[in-house]
C-alpha cells in the first residue's frame, strides 16, 4: 500500500511540465522573414503576428495585425537572437510562410541563408522563398494588405494562386531550393516581388482605408541565379516560358492577335511538358514537348467564326506560335545569362549519365549556351465557353 502511494507521489513529479516547454503565450509567431545585406552585416526582419488584433473575440484596437521586429548581426542566427533586445519573446519559426531575400543579399549569394534555415529544427519545409526586386526585404514585409489581415499570408496565397492561374511565378519551397542548389545541372530560380507605390504610405493604416490601396505588392518576373548568386531577371513573357518548360504551368491566359489591336483570349486549362535529351555527335540536344489544352474565353473580332472547325485549327496554330514565342524567349534569356534554370543538365544526367560525367564541369559556361533546343508543341482548343458565336452585332 505504501509502495503504491509512493509511486503515485513520484508520478506527480512528472506533472510539472517538460523541460523545453513553451506556452502559447510565450511564442512570437513569425510569419514572414526578410533578409537584407546592409553594410557588411545581415539585417533580418521578422513579421510577427499580433494575436489580439486578429482574434475574433477580443475587441479590435488600432494596432496593426502584424509587427515588424528587426535584428542585426554577422550571422543570421545572431540577428534572430538580437531581436529579443526589442521583442518580448523569442521567435518561433514553426509557422513561417514567406521568406523574402533582398536583392542585394541575393546578389551576394543565398547559400548561407538557405543553410541557416535548413539547419534550424523549428522551421519546416513548406514556406515559399521569394526575392525582393528593386527594394529591400523589410519594405516588402511592412505593407498593410487589403482583404487578408496578415500580409505574409496574403503574399503566400497570392504566390501560390498566381502560380496556378497566371503563370509567371513559381512557389519555391525550401526542399526544392535545397535540391536545386545541390545539383550541378540546374540553377535555382525564384519569383521576384515588387512594392508598387511608396512604402511610407504602405506602412500606415491609410493604405487599406482607401479603395485602391496606394501601396501594394506585385509579383513580377523570375530571378535567375548562377550557383547561388542572383544574376538577372526574366520579364513576364520569359517567365511564362520558364514555367511552361519546367512543367509548372497549370493555367494561364494567352492573347492571340486577330486584328488591329484586337486580341482573342485563350485560357490554358492544362499544360504538360516533358524534356528529353539526346546526345548527337558528342553534342547534347534537348527536345521540349509541350501538350496544352485550352478554351476560348474572349472573342473580340467578329470576323472570327467559332462555329467553323477550320477556325479552331487556325487559332490553335496561332496560340502555338504564342507559346513558342514565350518558350524561345525564356531559353534565349537563360542562355544569355548562362544559367540553366530549366534543369536541362539534370535531365541529361538522368538520361545519359556517362556523357554527363564528361561535360558536367563545363556545362554552365560552354555547353548550355550552345545547346540546341527543339520544341514540339501540341495545342488543343476544346471549349469556347458557354456560347459559340455570340449574337451581338
Amino acid at each position: 500500500m505504501l509502495y503504491k502511494f509512493a509511486i503515485s507521489m513520484l508520478c506527480l513529479l512528472m506533472l510539472t511540465g517538460c523541460w523545453s516547454r513553451r506556452e502559447l503565450n510565450e511564442l512570437l509567431i513569425v510569419l514572414g522573414v526578410g533578409v537584407d545585406w546592409e553594410d557588411g552585416h545581415y539585417l533580418v526582419s521578422f513579421q510577427v503576428v499580433n494575436p489580439s488584433e486578429i482574434s475574433n473575440q477580443q475587441k479590435r484596437g488600432d494596432r496593426p495585425p502584424s509587427t515588424l521586429f528587426q535584428g542585426r548581426g554577422k550571422t543570421l542566427f545572431e540577428a534572430a537572437r538580437a531581436v529579443t533586445a526589442e521583442a518580448p519573446r523569442k521567435v518561433y519559426a514553426g509557422h513561417l510562410q514567406i521568406y523574402v531575400i533582398g536583392e542585394e543579399a541575393a546578389r551576394r549569394g543565398i547559400n548561407e541563408i538557405i543553410d541557416n534555415v535548413a539547419r534550424d529544427n523549428e522551421a519546416r519545409m513548406d514556406f515559399n522563398i521569394i526575392v525582393a526586386k528593386g527594394t529591400k526585404a523589410e519594405n516588402v514585409l511592412k505593407l498593410y494588405t487589403p482583404v487578408e489581415k496578415l500580409p505574409s499570408y496574403s503574399m503566400q496565397q497570392s504566390l501560390q494562386t498566381s502560380e496556378k492561374n497566371w503563370a509567371p511565378t513559381i512557389a519555391v519551397t525550401l526542399d526544392e531550393a535545397i535540391n536545386k542548389l545541390s545539383s550541378q545541372g540546374s540553377e535555382i530560380a525564384l519569383t521576384g516581388i515588387r512594392v508598387i507605390g511608396s512604402p511610407a504610405i504602405g506602412e500606415t493604416k491609410q493604405n487599406v482605408e482607401k479603395f485602391l490601396p496606394p501601396s501594394r505588392f506585385r509579383y513580377s518576373g523570375i530571378a535567375a541565379f548562377k550557383e547561388d548568386r542572383l544574376i538577372g531577371w526574366l520579364n513576364e513573357k520569359e517567365s511564362r516560358g520558364y514555367t511552361d518548360i519546367t512543367n509548372n504551368l497549370d493555367s494561364t491566359s494567352i492573347a492571340v492577335p486577330c486584328g488591329e489591336q484586337r486580341y482573342l483570349g485563350v485560357e490554358v486549362t492544362s499544360s504538360d511538358s516533358k524534356i528529353k535529351t539526346k546526345v548527337v555527335n558528342g553534342n547534347p540536344e534537348v527536345e521540349v514537348s509541350i501538350r496544352t489544352e485550352g478554351n476560348i474565353v474572349e472573342r473580340t473580332c467578329t470576323d472570327v467564326d467559332l462555329s467553323d472547325p477550320a477556325t479552331i485549327k487556325k487559332l490553335e496554330g496561332q496560340t502555338k506560335q504564342a507559346i513558342l514565342g514565350n518558350v524561345e524567349a525564356a531559353v534565349q534569356r537563360a542562355k544569355e545569362l548562362k544559367s540553366d534554370i530549366f534543369g536541362f543538365g539534370t535531365q541529361l544526367e538522368k538520361e545519359h549519365p556517362a556523357y554527363w560525367n564528361q561535360v558536367k564541369d563545363q556545362w554552365r559556361e560552354e555547353y548550355f549556351p550552345q545547346l540546341k533546343v527543339t520544341y514540339k508543341i501540341k495545342m488543343f482548343i476544346r471549349d469556347t465557353g458557354t456560347i459559340e458565336n455570340s449574337t451581338i452585332r
Partner: protein, 390 residues
C-alpha cells in the same frame, strides 16, 4: 538465470520482437547513411543489405534450432569449458553493451535535435533508461505481449506514413540508376546490413524462452523479412519524395518525411505522432539488447537472479552514453566508419564460431552435478541426434 526462467513467449511474439528489433534505429539513420555513399541508389544499397540480412537470418536460425531451447551460455560452456566459454560469451555481451550505447545515443540525439533542443541529454537517457529497466523487471512475457499489442499500432503508423506520401512521389528522383558504379552501393549497404540485421544476433538469447520445441527458422526469417521490407520501403520513399540531396543533408530524413505529409491542408504537422513509431522500435531494440546484457551477465557469473543488476547497469550505460557522444560529429564518424566492422566481428563471426562449435564439437559433461536446473536434462538425451542435418 532470471527467476522467470520458465517464462514462455509464443513464436508469434518472438517473430514480432525480431521484426521490431530489426527496424530499430535503422529507420532513423539509415536513409542518411546509405544516401551518403550511394546518393540516388540508396534503395539499391538497402536491397542488398536486405538480401544479405536474410542469409544472416538463416545462420542465426541454424544456431537457434540446434540450441533446442537451451540458453546460449550453457551451450557454449558445455563445449568450451568454464573459462573459455565464459570469456567467449563475455565478448558477445560486451558488443551488446556497445550496441546499447549506440541506441541510447541515437535516441537522445534525435530528441535533442528535433523535438526538445534545450533538454539536457542526461534527462532523456535517464527517463528512457528507467522505462527500459522497468520493462525488463516485469519479465520477458510482459514486454513480449506489449510488443504484440504495439505491433499493429506500429504497422498502422508506417502504412499511414507511406500512403500519405504517395501523392508527393517524384519518380525521376530515382534516376540515373547505378550511374556511379557498384562500389558506392556496397559502401552504403554495409552500415545498413550491420545495424539492421547483424545486430539482431541477440535474438539467440531469446530462444530459450520460446515455447514449444519446434524449429524457429520460419519465425526468425519472418521477422527479418518484414523488418527488412519496412526499412527498404522507408529508404525507397525517402529517395522518391525527398531526393538524394535532401536525404544526405538532413540527419533524420524520416522526420522530414513525416513533416512533408500534407493532405488537403488539414492533415498536416503530424510528425510528432510519427515519432511514436520510431520510439517504439528503438525502445524494443534497446530492450532486447539490455536483456542480453543483464541476463547474460547473470548467467556468466552463475547468479540465480538478474533483476538486481538492472539499476547499476543502467547507471553505467547512462554514463558511458553521455561520455561516448561528446558531439554528433565524433559519434557519426565512428558509427559510419568503424562500427560496422565491430558489428561484423562480434555479431557475425562469433555466432559463426558458435555454429561451428554446436555442430562439430561434442558437449562436455557438466563439471559439477547438482548445479544445473532441470531444464538442462534433455541435453544428454539429445546427444545422439547431433549428426542430424538441419
Amino acid at each position: 538465470m532470471s527467476i522467470y526462467s520458465n517464462a514462455k513467449i509464443s513464436v508469434r511474439q518472438f517473430a514480432i520482437l525480431i521484426m521490431i528489433g530489426t527496424v530499430g534505429d535503422s529507420i532513423l539513420i539509415m536513409p542518411t547513411i546509405t544516401a551518403a555513399s550511394s546518393k540516388q541508389d540508396a534503395w539499391l544499397s538497402m536491397l542488398l543489405a536486405f538480401f544479405a540480412g536474410i542469409l544472416t537470418g538463416g545462420i542465426f536460425a541454424a544456431i537457434a534450432n540446434r540450441l533446442q531451447r537451451v540458453s546460449l551460455y550453457e551451450a557454449i560452456r558445455q563445449r568450451l569449458g568454464l573459462w573459455f566459454g565464459g570469456f567467449f560469451f563475455l565478448l558477445f555481451i560486451f558488443s551488446s553493451f556497445m550496441c546499447i550505447l549506440t541506441l541510447l545515443s541515437e535516441m537522445s540525439q534525435f530528441m535533442t535535435t528535433q523535438l526538445m533542443p534545450e533538454t539536457p541529454v542526461n534527462a532523456i537517457i535517464l527517463f528512457f533508461g528507467a522505462v527500459i529497466i522497468i520493462a525488463y523487471r516485469y519479465g520477458i512475457e510482459a514486454y513480449a505481449r506489449m510488443g504484440e499489442i504495439l505491433f499493429p499500432v506500429m504497422m498502422g503508423l508506417f502504412v499511414l506514413l507511406v500512403v500519405l506520401l504517395m501523392p508527393q512521389i517524384k519518380w525521376p528522383n530515382m534516376l540515373p540508376i547505378m550511374a556511379r558504379g557498384f562500389l558506392p552501393i556496397i559502401n552504403g549497404a554495409l552500415p545498413a546490413y550491420c545495424t539492421g540485421f547483424v545486430e539482431m544476433a541477440v535474438l539467440l538469447m531469446l530462444v530459450p524462452y520460446v515455447e514449444g520445441n519446434g524449429k524457429l527458422t520460419k519465425h526468425i526469417l519472418k521477422g527479418f523479412i518484414v523488418g527488412g521490407i519496412i526499412l527498404f520501403l522507408i529508404v525507397l520513399i525517402s529517395v522518391l519524395v525527398l531526393g538524394p540531396a535532401l536525404m544526405e543533408t538532413k540527419y533524420y530524413p524520416t522526420f522530414v518525411l513525416a513533416q512533408k505529409i500534407m493532405i488537403g491542408h488539414f492533415l498536416e504537422r503530424i510528425e510528432a505522432v510519427m515519432a511514436f513509431l520510431w520510439v517504439i522500435t528503438v525502445f524494443y531494440k534497446t530492450l532486447i539488447h539490455f536483456f542480453t546484457l543483464t541476463t547474460g551477465l547473470a548467467q556468466v557469473f552463475r547468479l540465480k537472479e538478474s533483476k538486481m543488476l538492472t539499476i547499476p547497469l543502467g547507471m553505467i550505460l547512462l554514463v558511458c552514453t553521455v561520455v561516448g557522444t561528446p558531439n554528433i560529429t565524433t559519434y557519426n564518424q565512428i558509427l559510419i566508419d568503424y562500427y560496422p566492422w565491430f558489428d561484423l566481428t562480434f555479431f557475425l563471426v562469433l555466432p559463426l564460431i558458435m555454429l561451428f562449435l554446436i555442430i562439430a564439437v561434442k558437449q562436455k559433461p557438466p563439471k559439477v552435478q547438482g548445479q544445473q536446473p532441470q531444464g538442462q536434462q534433455p541435453q544428454g538425451q539429445q546427444q545422439p541426434q547431433q549428426p542430424q542435418k538441419n
